[in-house]
C-alpha cells in the first residue's frame, strides 16, 4: 500500500500548489455555481454577473484598496456531496473572503458550513429553507444572508392579482374554479400548498389537485385530460423546470380550455419562450426578485443594460442578481475596509438598505432573508406578449396591460 500514500501526497501537493498563490490586496470572490450538469445554463449566468461586477469595481480602482477576482467551484447536480466539495474548495482557497451563489443546494444546508467557517455568504436559493436554518439561532449565522426575498408573496399574491384582473373585466368569472398542478419539490410544493389555501380562503374551488414527481415529465396529457373534463377558470402549474413547463404549455395549446394559465418561475428562463414560441403568448407568471427592467425602476434598467452590453444576451434573474450581491458586498467592504474581518463584513451587510435590480433591499434580522413587499422586493406579475414578458402588476412598476390570451373565448 506504499503507492496509496504516494499518490495521495502528490494529489494533495498539487491541490496545495493551486490554492496557495495569493496576492495581499486581491480579494477573491467565490462563486458556487453549477458549471456542468442539468442547470449549467443558470450557473453560467451566476459567474457572468459576478464577473461583471468585479470587472467594474477593478476598473474604478477597487474598493477600499482591494481588487477582485472571481473563483468558481462547480456544484454539478446540486447533490450534497458535490456542494460540500465545492464549498470546501472555496473555503480552502486562500484569499476568498466572500462567497456568492444563485443557488447551490435546494436545502440550503451549506449555510451551516459557511457559518462554521465564518465565511460571508450571500445566496439567492430558496428563502424558506434558508430561514428555516437561520431562524433557530440568527446570531450564529451573522455571515449568511439570503438575497432572495421571503417567498410568502408567491403563495398569497396570485389570488388577489387574478381577482383584480377579473374585476377589471378582462374576462368573465364562471364559477371560481382553479386547477393546481405541482411538482414534488419543496419550492413548487410549498407555493402550491399556499396557493390552495389562499384560493380556498377567497371562496374558490380547486377542481384538479395534482402532484407530479420531481424531474422530467414526459407527458402532461393525462393531467390535461382531467383539467379539460371540468374546465376551470384558472390553471396553475408550479413545476419550475423550464422544459416541463414548456411541454405543458405546448400540450395545453393542443386543445386549450377557456382558462387563464399561470406558471411558476419557468417563463423567466429565456429558453422557455424559444421552446414554446407563439404557444406561450398570454401565459401569466410572477417573480420575486426578477429584474425590474422598467422605467419606474432605473436601477433595474441600468444593470440589465450593462449585462446585455457586456455579454450580448439579456440576463435572467441570476445574472443581474449576482451582480447586485457583489455590489452589496462591495458596499459592506467599503465600510469595513478589511476583507479578512468577516465578523465586521457580516454586520455591515445587515445594514444594507439600497435599491437593487429586484427592488429595495433590506434584510430581516430574524431570518437574514431580504424583506418582501411593495416597498421592498415586490412580487411582480408578467404576461408573455409577442414573445416577451410584460409586467402587468403591481401598478407601481407595471410596463403594460393584461391582454386576453388568444385561446380564450370572447
Amino acid at each position: 500500500m506504499g503507492r496509496y500514500s504516494r499518490i495521495l501526497a502528490i494529489g494533495t501537493a498539487i491541490c496545495a500548489l493551486t490554492t496557495s498563490a495569493a496576492m495581499a490586496d486581491l480579494v477573491k470572490i467565490g462563486v458556487l455555481a453549477p458549471l456542468t450538469g442539468p442547470t449549467a445554463s443558470d450557473g453560467e449566468e451566476f459567474v457572468r454577473g459576478a464577473r461583471l461586477a468585479a470587472k467594474e469595481a477593478n476598473a474604478n480602482g477597487g474598493i477600499a484598496g482591494h481588487t477582485f477576482e472571481i473563483v468558481t467551484a462547480d456544484v454539478v447536480d446540486h447533490s450534497a456531496a458535490n456542494v460540500t466539495s465545492a464549498v470546501e474548495r472555496l473555503l480552502g482557497t486562500e484569499g476568498v473572503h466572500i462567497i456568492l451563489t444563485g443557488y447551490a443546494s435546494l436545502s440550503m444546508f451549506e449555510v451551516e458550513l459557511m457559518a462554521e467557517a465564518n465565511m460571508p455568504y450571500i445566496a439567492a436559493g430558496p428563502s424558506p429553507q434558508f430561514a428555516g436554518i437561520v431562524s433557530g439561532d440568527p446570531s450564529a449565522y451573522d455571515c449568511c444572508w439570503s438575497f432572495t426575498a421571503d417567498f410568502k408573496g408567491y403563495e398569497t399574491d396570485v389570488t388577489p392579482t387574478i381577482e383584480a384582473l377579473l374585476a377589471a373585466g378582462h374576462f368573465p368569472l364562471d364559477n371560481k374554479t382553479v386547477a393546481i398542478i405541482s411538482s414534488d419539490n419543496p419550492y413548487s410544493k410549498t407555493i402550491s400548498e399556499g396557493m390552495k389555501s389562499a384560493f380556498g380562503d377567497a371562496g374558490w374551488t380547486v377542481t384538479v389537485d395534482e402532484l407530479v414527481p420531481f424531474g422530467p415529465v414526459g407527458d402532461w396529457r393525462p393531467i390535461l385530460a382531467k383539467v379539460r373534463e371540468n374546465p376551470p377558470d384558472v390553471v396553475i402549474n408550479t413545476d419550475y423546470i423550464p422544459s416541463n413547463a414548456a411541454l405543458f404549455t405546448n400540450q395545453f395549446r393542443e386543445d386549450p380550455t377557456d382558462s387563464v394559465v399561470f406558471l411558476q418561475y419557468a417563463p423567466l428562463v429565456p429558453e422557455f419562450v424559444e421552446l414554446t414560441k407563439e404557444n406561450s403568448d398570454g401565459i401569466l407568471y410572477n417573480a420575486i426578485g426578477a429584474t425590474l427592467d422598467v422605467d419606474a425602476w432605473p436601477r433595474g434598467q441600468e444593470v440589465a443594460k450593462k449585462y446585455k452590453d457586456e455579454y450580448g444576451v439579456a440576463s435572467g434573474a441570476y445574472g443581474t442578481g449576482l451582480y447586485e450581491m457583489a455590489t452589496v458586498y462591495f458596499e459592506a467592504l467599503d465600510k469595513v475596509g478589511d476583507p479578512t474581518d468577516h465578523d465586521a463584513v457580516g454586520k455591515a451587510i445587515v445594514e444594507t438598505k439600497r435599491p437593487v435590480t429586484s427592488g429595495f433591499l433590506e434584510f430581516d434580522p430574524a431570518t437574514h432573508v431580504a424583506r418582501q413587499g411593495i416597498d421592498h422586493v415586490p412580487v411582480t406579475f408578467f404576461q408573455i406578449q409577442d414573445g416577451g414578458g410584460v409586467m402587468i402588476s403591481p401598478d407601481k412598476y407595471k410596463s403594460g396591460e393584461f391582454k386576453k390570451p388568444g385561446w380564450m373565448s370572447e
Binding site: 450557473g43 414534488d184 393542443e254
Partner: protein, 295 residues
C-alpha cells in the same frame, strides 16, 4: 370518463409506447447479442438528438427534419459500430464481461453527455417539428406531429424486424445472438456482426432521440429518463424475441397514460418499479419471453 378523454389517453399512450418501443428495442438487441446492458443508450439518444438539431439549423422544414434524422442515424450507426471495438471487444472473453461492460458504458455515457455540454451548451433546445397543427381523433385534438412520429417509429421497427428476419446479414446477427460459438465455428466474422448490432442499436437510439427532441426538448441529460424507461420495458417484455419489448413498450405507455389519469402521476414510477420487481421474481424472462434467446 367520456369517449373523448378515453381517445385522448389512448392516443397519448400510443405515442409514448411508440417512443418507448424504439428506445427499448435498441437496448434489447444489444442485450440479446452480447448479454450486456448498455448504460450509454440514454446518452446515445441525446447525442442523436443533438446531431439532428445541428443539421436542422442549416436546413429547415420537413426536409431539414428528415435530413437531420438521416444524418443522425448514419453517424450514430458508425459511432455504435466503433464503440464495440473500444468498449467491449478488448475484454470480450473476460470472466467479468458483464460488469466491465457496465463500467465502460457508464463511462462512455459520461463522455458523451459532457461532450454534448461542451459542444452545444446546457440550454434546452428543440428540433423544430415539421408538422404543426392538430388532427381530430375520436373527437379530441392531438398534434399531427405525434401521429407522424408514431407512424415512423412503427415503420422503423418493422424495417428492423424485416432486416433481421429476411436478409442474410440479419440472419447472421440472429445466429450470433442464439449461439455465438456455433456462429464463430461457421466462419462468421462475429466481431463485425456484434459491432453491427451495436451500430443498429445506436441508430434506433438516434431516431428515438430525434423524436424526443421534436416532441419534447433536448438537454445534455435528456437521455437519463429514456434509459430508465427502456430498462423497465425490456425487463417487462423480456428479450427473447424482437417483438417482446415492443408489446411491453405499448403496455407501459398505455399504463402510464391511464394510470396518470385514474391514479395519480405521482405514484406511476413507484408502481412501475414494483411491477418490475414482481415480474423479475415471477417470470425473469419477461412477460412475453421464453427461456431461449432469439432475436
Amino acid at each position: 370518463m367520456t369517449l373523448e378523454t378515453f381517445a385522448f389517453l389512448l392516443a397519448s399512450g400510443l405515442v409514448l409506447g411508440g417512443l418507448y418501443a424504439l428506445m427499448a428495442s435498441g437496448l434489447a438487441v444489444v442485450w440479446t447479442t452480447l448479454g450486456v446492458f448498455n448504460f450509454a443508450h440514454g446518452a446515445m439518444i441525446a447525442l442523436g438528438a443533438y446531431i439532428a438539431w445541428q443539421v436542422t439549423q442549416y436546413t429547415t422544414g420537413g426536409a431539414g427534419f428528415l435530413l437531420g434524422a438521416g444524418v443522425s442515424v448514419a453517424i450514430m450507426f458508425c459511432l455504435g459500430f466503433a464503440m464495440h471495438y473500444v468498449l467491449v471487444k478488448p475484454f470480450e472473453l473476460h470472466a467479468n464481461l458483464v460488469l466491465l461492460a457496465v463500467i465502460t458504458t457508464l463511462a462512455a455515457a459520461s463522455i458523451m453527455e459532457n461532450a454534448i455540454l461542451l459542444s452545444w451548451g446546457p440550454r434546452d433546445k428543440q428540433i423544430a417539428p415539421p408538422f404543426t397543427g392538430n388532427i381530430e381523433f375520436l373527437g379530441t385534438a392531438i398534434g399531427i406531429h405525434d401521429f407522424v412520429i408514431l407512424a415512423i417509429a412503427l415503420a422503423a421497427l418493422l424495417a428492423l424486424a424485416l432486416f433481421l428476419r429476411r436478409t442474410t446479414a440479419g440472419r447472421a446477427l440472429r445466429a450470433v445472438a442464439q449461439n455465438r460459438e456455433a456462429a464463430e465455428l461457421m466462419g462468421f466474422n462475429v466481431s463485425r456482426l456484434v459491432a453491427m448490432t451495436i451500430g443498429l442499436s445506436a441508430a434506433t437510439a438516434a431516431l428515438a432521440g430525434v423524436f424526443v427532441g421534436s416532441l419534447r426538448f433536448i438537454s445534455p441529460t435528456v437521455g437519463t429518463d429514456p434509459l430508465m424507461k427502456s430498462l423497465i420495458v425490456v425487463i417487462l417484455g423480456g428479450v427473447t424475441r424482437f417483438t417482446s419489448p415492443i408489446y411491453a413498450a405499448f403496455i407501459v405507455g398505455l399504463a402510464e397514460a391511464f394510470s396518470a389519469y385514474f391514479l395519480v402521476l405521482y405514484w406511476a414510477p413507484a408502481v412501475l418499479f414494483a411491477m418490475m420487481i414482481i415480474v423479475l421474481l415471477i417470470k425473469p424472462e419477461g412477460l412475453f419471453g421464453r427461456r431461449t434467446r432469439t432475436l
